[in-house]
């Protein structure tokens, strides 16, 4: 348990404090701004700019990033990994608000922006929580507003359906997760992750391997739902298709990034990296002569293979663009799970690369997915159609939009110079470092399958003849900015990935040292 000092603890949650104040301000703006045409647009602008500014706070007012310390009495852990996740979730919130502005039905109601801020707040806490109670509260702070957002277009049956489905699946998964947490607390007598790790080594727990594995399994099922890994992915296509498009964009990045961050923390802190000593040999947490690590690494390997394969194969046959992105996001979760499985690496450098590669992948995935969804929103708002075939001839209608979407799709496919290339490269590298060569091979094969359906879309946009080819698409200025900035970020990350990756690696090393290994 970390000791509790408010004044030293405050900087560790600087973005969260800012978001809370911002939420109150936006609430009052929504209540007091006079009813005029640009009302919601002004609120959106305030929210987006504030969130973008808050994304800077980790670099201004924060504890030292090269250590990993506990704050708020052991509730929150602050390090560079948490900072990176905070930044990406805050930017995802800002971009979502910007791309929702012109989406009829959501962007013109002030509450929408408020709820996005609340989800962002939850995501920021989630990525740095170090206690089971905190994890659950943060996870629900992310999930419950997202249920509301998915059903935000009340007059649209599909939106209501997706909201209800998301709510039913989500609350069920949360219940299972919580049940797993309760077992962990019962076994170890603590909710603090590192204390759980210590408790697992005590005498009381030895002899109860089945209970530990059952608890771990339930927690993995709960997190598996949140990151939409196969076999817990059934909600994804329906929710992605039915929810308003900006919400889909936000679900696919913020909730996923936060969940991956906390999943990674949970596995590292509670179920232990093998302790790495100076000469890089390891001792495993042993209960009943079996290794818990083997259990979860094998489980995650299987989930990773299933997610990649099922996601990519089902994506091949999709006609609806949002549904295709749903299956693509399942496949992307599969790649990232590879990084989690690689946490079992025996060497210190291998573990650092595993943690850093997950962080980098989520970082680039945030921008990549948002640029594509921004393009879809723009297109659907202008034409009212969202099938892939309707994008035919987009290049003649709006060359810049087609270019931005091409950059996004290339990044998802993992082709240089887009950021996705390095994202995948780091993950494969982590898998190889952890002696999971077979898993890395399957990942590479899947990337080739995925190439097909991403490139087909680019071909449709650039080569195919569309029916409305002579009608150019107007690009509002706010969308032009968002598309431009995110595309440039993707290219920059793809050309010089090292600053972010090095920062993530420093954070990973700090976490590893804090675990006392």
């Amino acid at each position: 348990m970390g000791e509790f000092n408010v004044w030293t603890s405050l900087p560790a949650v600087a973005p969260e404090i800012g978001l809370t104040i911002l939420a109150a301000v936006v609430l009052l703006l929504d209540a007091y701004l006079p009813k005029e045409k640009n009302r919601a647009r002004n609120i959106a602008f305030v929210s987006a700019v504030s969130m973008a500014v808050l994304a800077l706070t980790p670099f201004i007012w924060a504890p030292a990033p090269n250590t990993s310390e506990l704050f708020w009495g052991g509730m929150v852990r602050h390090d560079a990994l948490g900072q990176l996740f905070d930044v990406m979730i805050l930017l995802a919130g800002a971009i979502t608000v910007m791309i929702a502005v012109d989406d009829s039905g959501v962007g013109r109601r002030g509450e929408f922006h408020l709820i996005v801020i609340i989800v962002t707040l939850g995501g920021c806490i989630l990525s740095s929580s170090a206690d089971l109670v905190m994890i659950f509260v943060a996870l629900e702070t992310v999930s419950i507003p997202l249920y509301v957002l998915a059903a935000f277009r009340r007059e649209d049956n599909k939106s209501s359906e997706s909201g209800l489905k998301y709510f039913l699946f989500g609350s069920f998964a949360s219940a299972i997760l919580l049940y797993g947490f309760s077992f962990l607390y019962g076994l170890t007598g603590s909710t603090q992750l590192t204390a759980i790790a210590a408790g697992l080594n005590s005498e009381i727990v030895s002899g109860n391997l089945v209970a530990v594995l059952a608890a771990l399994l339930m927690v993995i099922v709960g997190f598996g739902f949140k990151i939409s890994a196969v076999p817990f992915h059934f909600w994804t296509p329906d929710v992605y298709e039915g929810a308003p498009t900006p919400v889909t964009a936000f679900v696919s990045v913020a909730s996923k990034a936060g969940s991956f961050a906390v999943f990674m923390r949970f596995l590292i802190e509670a179920f232990g990296l093998p302790a790495v000593s100076a000469d890089a040999t390891s001792t495993l947490v042993v209960i009943d002569g079996q290794t818990i690590q083997t259990f979860w690494v094998n489980l995650l390997t299987v989930f990773s293979i299933l997610s990649m394969t099922v996601g990519n194969v089902l994506a091949l046959r999709q006609k609806n663009f949002k549904r295709l992105l749903a299956y693509s996001s399942i496949a992307q979760a599969g790649y990232t799970l590879m990084g989690l499985a690689a946490l079992q690496a025996q060497s210190a450098i291998g573990q650092d690369i595993a943690m850093a590669s997950i962080t980098f992948y989520m970082f680039m995935y945030t921008f990549t997915n948002l640029v594509i969804f921004a393009g879809i929103i723009l297109f659907v708002e202008a034409t009212g159609r969202e099938n892939i075939a309707d994008f035919a001839g987009l290049q003649r209608r709006s060359p810049w939009l087609a270019l931005a979407m091409t950059i996004g799709l290339l990044s998802l496919a993992g082709i240089p110079p887009a950021a996705g290339f390095f994202g995948k490269l780091f993950l494969f590298q982590a898998a190889v470092e952890a002696n999971l060569v077979g898993l890395a091979m399957i990942g590479v094969l899947n990337a080739i399958v995925a190439l097909y359906y991403y490139l087909i879309i680019i071909k449709i946009m650039y080569v195919d003849q569309g029916i409305d080819e002579d009608k150019p698409l107007a690009m509002p200025r706010s969308y032009a900015w968002v598309l431009g900035i995110t595309s440039v970020v993707i290219i920059i990350l793809g050309v010089i990935p090292t600053p972010i990756f090095d920062l993530a690696q420093q954070g990973a090393a700090a976490v590893r040292l804090a675990m006392g290994s």
Binding site: T20, A24, L28, A31, I204
Partner: protein, 119 residues
């Protein structure tokens, strides 16, 4: 902790299940069975049911219920704080002030949005 400690509880569950089953079966076999309309009514000795059970309720009640919960939670937080106020000191006062401030913002919002108007 060994599983054997739970053996009495397990035996208890099994016996209770079997006993309940036996009682139901025996009374079914040996008891007289003469159903009448009145016996089958939801409340045998109560009022006659009027209309279906799923009646339409004004949706406003849900709003009232949601608003009520906010203030309910507020009171639940206030009470232990008031009891332990001397121990918590200035820190407790500030924290409670922040909490109340957030609630007041929400209250202003619902007032301005007209959630408190019945019509």
């Amino acid at each position: 902790m060994a599983l054997e400690q739970f053996a009495p509880a397990g035996v208890m569950i099994i016996i209770a299940t079997i006993l309940a089953f036996i009682i139901l079966v025996i009374s079914r076999i040996f008891g007289p069975h003469r159903p009448t309309f009145r016996k089958n009514a939801p409340y045998e000795s109560g009022m006659k049911p009027i209309g279906p059970a799923q009646r339409r309720v004004p949706v406003r009640f849900y709003l009232v219920a949601v608003l009520f919960i906010i203030f309910d939670v507020e009171v639940i937080f206030f009470l232990p704080w008031a009891v332990a106020m001397r121990d918590l000191g200035v820190y407790g006062l500030i924290v409670m002030g922040v909490f109340t401030l957030m609630l007041i913002v929400g209250f202003i919002y619902e007032w301005k949005k007209g959630a408190l108007e019945w019509e």
